[in-house]
């Protein structure tokens, strides 16, 4: 006889809870009618992008201007995105992978060529140097349109690190044990170790890779956590002294915590580009191109730059930046000719993927 009240209560709570939350959800439903109207006009476009990698206002503006409804989904790393697209059970129209992953997708016949007549803003606004850089993974610039680019470097807290930071080797300094945040993605983590050893970050040499793996294992006791985007929150909160981070996050974190500083280590680093691509099985290619074109408009690219603070390859948008300091910031728009040993990731084939994954697992499980 004791349990009956529990159930009666739960039922009551449930009924009332449903009413209330239904009301709550109802508040969000103007969207439901809005989408129906949007769908009637121009159909939809399914976008698969990095987490927090766009100003949500621009999506609304796109919907308003074109009548195309945006279905938006997010991924965390290239490696998480790829199997979802490859499996084909999730169909996307526009995806924003990085350089080496675009190469992999081209190699595995997952992408379709873009019709640049439908994307006039791309060639008009995006700087020549970025197209040139894209040639490395997309020969002939047939499949991709650059969206953001940047470097990978060390973000450090000036109050916790006294000596000048200019080398990856500081991430192996025992003084900073438990104060180091490493990247939790295979290629980025190995890039750091390979560069420190003076190797190419696209190395396929088993000895070089084994050396890099051992270096990472040696570093593990000093590492506070392997994180991806959480570096941002943790560095702002003074949780760690040093973190490996994408240059785009540097401006954001500095705004929140002025003690932080970003450097590109002297051993060289990864210069990456994230570009819009359209997969082969995209249900709405026309809308996808409309979307890419919209994102290449200078005013829209500017909004996105200001929101996500990742460097834009859109020269026309850069011209529009009002804050001179940001416009000429060496973090957002570094002069790459100053740095040695800059590289871009290449796709290393299934074999390379397997080799890296295997070694990474050995690091992580050690």
């Amino acid at each position: 006889m004791k349990k009956r009240t529990v159930i009666t209560k739960l039922t009551g709570i449930f009924a009332m809870g449903c009413l209330l939350s239904g009301f709550l959800a109802g508040c969000g439903s103007p969207d439901a009618s809005g989408t129906a109207a949007g769908a009637k006009d121009g159909g939809e476009v399914i976008v698969y992008n990095w987490g927090e990698y766009i100003d949500p206002d621009t999506l609304e503006m796109f919907e308003e201007e074109t009548g195309v409804k945006v279905v938006y989904d997010e991924f965390e790393t290239n490696e998480i995105m790829y199997p979802r697209v490859e499996a084909g059970a999730s169909q996307y129209d526009v995806i924003c992978p990085s350089d080496y992953m675009i190469q992999k997708m081209i190699d595995n016949d997952l992408l379709q060529e873009l019709d640049f007549d439908n994307i006039p803003n791309a060639k008009a606004n995006i700087g020549a140097q970025y197209w040139e850089q894209s040639e490395q993974f997309d020969p002939g610039n047939k499949y991709s349109v650059p969206y953001c680019w940047g470097t990978v470097g060390i973000l450090y807290n000036k109050t916790m690190v006294e000596e000048p930071v200019d080398s990856w080797s500081i991430l192996w300094d025992e003084k900073y044990a438990d104060n180091i945040l490493m990247q939790d993605s295979v290629r980025d983590a190995f890039m750091v170790a390979l560069k420190l050893n003076g190797n190419s970050m696209n190395s396929m040499d088993p000895d070089e890779l084994a050396a890099a793996r051992d270096l990472l294992i040696e570093q593990k006791p000093l590492v506070q956590a392997y994180v991806i985007d959480q570096v941002r929150d943790k560095m702002i909160g003074n949780e760690a002294a040093l973190g490996v981070i994408y240059s785009g996050e540097a401006i954001y974190t500095q705004r929140e915590n002025p003690d932080l500083e970003y450097v590109i280590p002297k051993e060289g680093t990864n210069v990456w580009i994230d570009s819009w691509v359209v997969p082969k099985n995209a249900p709405n290619k026309k809308n996808a191109e409309k979307f890419i074109d919209f994102m290449c408009r200078p005013d829209i690219a500017l909004l996105n730059f200001e929101y996500i603070t990742y460097s834009t390859p859109n020269d026309a948008a850069r011209e529009l930046i009002e804050d001179e300091e940001i416009k000429n910031s060496s973090i957002a728009f570094p002069d790459l000719s100053q740095y040695a040993n800059l590289e871009t990731f290449n796709y290393l084939g299934d074999e390379g993927d397997e080799l890296y994954n295997e070694m990474w697992k050995e690091v992580k499980s050690n």
């Binding site: 009956r4 159930i7 039922t11 449903c18 939350s21 239904g22 969000g28 279905v71 959480q230 909160g237």
Partner: protein, 267 residues
Amino acid sequence: MIKKSAEKIYIALIVLFMYAPIVTLMVLSFNNSKTRAKWGGFTFKWYVELFDNQAILQALSNTLAIALLSAVAATVIGTVATLSIAGMKRRSRAVFMSVTNIPMLNAEIVTGISLMLLFISFGVRFGFGTILLSHITFNIPYVILSVMPRAKQLNPSVYEAALDLGASRTQAFFRVVFPDLLPGILSGFLMAFTMSLDDFIITHFTKGPGVDTLSTKIYTEVKKGIKPEMYALSTLIFVTVLILLLLVNYRPKPQDASIPGAERTKK
């Protein structure tokens, strides 16, 4: 006396342990700073912004819709299944019950992955439908296990008496048997609803583009830092449930029969 206060202290400590993170989340919902790492002063603005945040509200309505639909479907399928299993011979009953137990006892990650493989192999497009099917699947066992004890306690002679007195099978069932099953059915439904509401892992593997539940939304946000609106929403949900609980608790208690199986929860 000492024993009583020791007991009280013990309960208090465990309550503290259980509620410390919840209080933390509530405090964060009033934090006037975008990151959880910094206290930026007191504000109500996230509660205002919550109602403008289409993505979160959409996730909320998805979550509720999936929980409600899957719980209803699981309750219907599960109840019918229970009655049929109860009418089986011992051996086939054992087989059916073992199959029923699989989704409950198996690791959620394995269930999620197996459903993902199924949908991919049969070329089903991931989306709202695949999440719903998966949720129904893992909800059915909770319903069966809640209704089964009731079904076993049924007295067949009552049903037969009803038939003898001229009731049709349908009448006899709905007038005589069903009321006896109802408490079990209700608790199974509730259990299914709660499980579906709280599920992350299985949804994670079977969700499609643009369809997020609160859990998957939060998991994506974890990486970049949870949006404070999410704290505000959770606080609202929690406070609502708490207030309802208090209201119901201090209301005269209605009578109904005890419900075995109500306690059967599993993550």
